[in-house]
Symmetry: C2
Subunit: 199 residues, 2 copies
Amino acid sequence: MAQYAKPLARLVAEFERLPGIGPKSAQRLAFYVLRLSDDEARALANAITEVKAAVGYCECCYNFTDQKLCEICRDPRRDDATICVVSDPRDLMALERMSEFRGKYHVLGGVLAPMEGIGPDQLKVRELLARLTGGTVREIVVATNPTVEGDATAIYLANLLRPLGPKITRIAHGVPVGGDLDYADQATLIQAFEGRREL
Amino acid sequence: MAQYAKPLARLVAEFERLPGIGPKSAQRLAFYVLRLSDDEARALANAITEVKAAVGYCECCYNFTDQKLCEICRDPRRDDATICVVSDPRDLMALERMSEFRGKYHVLGGVLAPMEGIGPDQLKVRELLARLTGGTVREIVVATNPTVEGDATAIYLANLLRPLGPKITRIAHGVPVGGDLDYADQATLIQAFEGRREL
């Protein structure tokens, strides 16, 4: 049985490692790349290397950015008094799409998962505490996913942060329970935000 | 509403252009790339540029190869007397996976589609004719997809090549009509091959 030419086999293997890409899709993508012009293929390859070289974490909120501070942290029109805590930059972008929230964010980089060895030290919890020192923050909206771990993380943060002064709220369960924030529609997200309650 | 950092937005856009990748998948892939190590991201980018640089067409059968002749054309154990004609290198690989056929291939690079301006001159038909000059080819198995255009291409090739001597056969309709060769299971492909009949 004939094999793919080596560079082609390697590209198929690379695509297969991506999430949600099976062997058939990987093959289809590889053949698609072969049919691209040299410029188009180079643009794709460059976009991959460049994203790794240029994009890092915001020094304040740990969103992805290609500068020291992300677009939201740099924006003087955004309200410093409210911080919305999310587990992932994708959740931040999902909330931004509803165009309702005018405060700032804090990206934890995950949720508490003791079984997988993820405790507060593995998340950006210390960095969130540091943001409360000035006394400008009056409310922290915990917008972790409404899963067991997301809820546990919200309760942990509420217990940790409440003594420091700010009101701690949780987005309402307008977001389908067990679902993924990133996949919620905008109306659900707006409802969830408006229905937030103190923890 | 905040936007992605530019390099991230560009990578998402690049992934969105790939076949079968929607906005959500493109975003998921881009975030996945951000979490890869530098080496892993570079391996993916290199695989893309290298496949374009190193892989071209076999000078004999127009399969993809990184050498002058593809692995199958170079293989002295493969039978020169039978040529299986396919429209696409993916179909060739699908047939190879059944490990039944021991002849050689010819990749047309498409099928006749007059409405899209694809006639014999846009396919590797002339190159197929050239392979018949030696008189060693005794059978040509036309394994284009069993679609209207695939069938029309088979009939066209039969009329063109039959006067030159070789037996012209068509794979049997064991392959589901209207389906795609590349997605057929091996048992179906073996049946289709064994049930081939003269055109």
